[in-house]
Symmetry: C2
């Protein structure tokens, strides 16, 4: 498996030698949410064959973008995680996500959707335009997804799993409601009234959070 190269002495071409193959950047996206095991990566990337996943991880590892780690006991399982060099890619992924967001159809069709992916774009917006005075840790449970958004210190971040410390707000909902809230087609108040949403903690923090999320408008091709 001799890795293909553009053979150009150019930073962009070199970056694409490492990251430009199919699925590579989506693997990096998954790892921006925190360390993941092989199986979880495969589950979040349907269509990616197990042989390719292994090959991509090998390529990314030898380029110093991802590394293998071991979760602390009692888990003791092997996980893949971003190295510092991989973490450097986060702002580029966010920029690309915002750029691509304008090309997304309003209706997702039957495409796979994950709330954490939308949360990544939200972080990107807050990174770039500030998050006002919204602070705190927000734990989300959207169908089978568990992730949390921390706006405590530094940059906003989405991480998978449950927060290490009790969150300020805990939000339980389903995927359509989450997307409707993010797109501001629905207010938390109305979602609560219709029993589409459950909130633990200070609800006003959630209102404040959603007020900052003005994702860019979508423009059709």
């Amino acid at each position: 498996m001799t890795t293909r190269s553009y053979r150009q002495h150019c930073g962009l071409a070199r970056a694409l030698d490492v990251l430009g193959e199919r699925w590579s950047l989506l693997i990096v996206r998954e790892l921006t949410f925190g360390p993941k095991r092989y199986r979880d990566l495969a589950d979040n990337l349907p269509g990616l064959g197990t042989n390719l996943l292994a090959a991509r991880l090998r390529t990314l590892e030898s380029a110093g973008v991802v590394g293998k780690g071991v979760l602390p006991p009692p888990a003791n399982v092997q996980v893949y995680e971003l190295t510092p060099r991989g973490e450097q890619l986060r702002p580029m992924l966010e920029d690309l996500a915002l750029w691509g967001f304008q090309l997304l159809p309003d209706d997702g069709g039957d495409d796979l959707a994950r709330a954490a992916w939308a949360a990544l774009s939200m972080c990107a917006v807050m990174d770039r335009e500030g998050s006002g005075d919204v602070r705190g840790t927000f734990a989300f449970e959207v169908e089978d997804e568990r992730f949390y958004l921390s706006l405590t210190a530094g940059e906003p971040r989405v991480r998978n799993g449950v927060p290490p410390d009790p969150p300020d707000v805990r939000v339980v909902t389903d995927l359509p409601t989450f997307f409707a809230l993010a797109a501001r087609r629905l207010t938390p108040a109305k979602a609560l009234r219709d029993d589409l949403l459950a909130v633990d903690g200070d609800r006003r923090r959630l209102d404040a959070l959603l007020a900052v999320f003005h994702l860019p408008a979508r423009a059709p091709a």
Copy 2:
């Protein structure tokens, strides 16, 4: 030719549906230097088959990233150029170029090298870290390449061809010397002494320009 998609309702995945195929971002890179004809694109992207180039241009065009234009008379030839949506990609290309730069081998091997590609990274550095009080238009003639760097108003930019107005400084050199200057392994003074470089105009401006170009250090894999 039904264009392949990741089928994920995610901005990044959508961006990669459009830009993630082989060669696409390098085509965009070429067009960041200004409008180009089909042949010039093909010449700068060896290894890219003409059928693929046509296919990529079609895909990029239908995604609203590139458009067809016609050069003003008497040229009257068809060119491809970035649309505003394509121009939005410039900062991401620059970020990726800087990220990939650290992975470039010191010795280019027998990879294709272009001075304009290095100039793109230089612009990226100046974009991010400021260009001090360096101002002006710098025309470069590096072997068969003609491009210019403008630091007049707004952001630094590299464009191919010759500047519309007479440049403040005109620099003629060869590729190894250009790279040595950019990497600061060589000073303009010494290059001039060794007859590797010719400068028209205020030479101190060139010194000032090169002083700003501290490209990131390269770290091997």
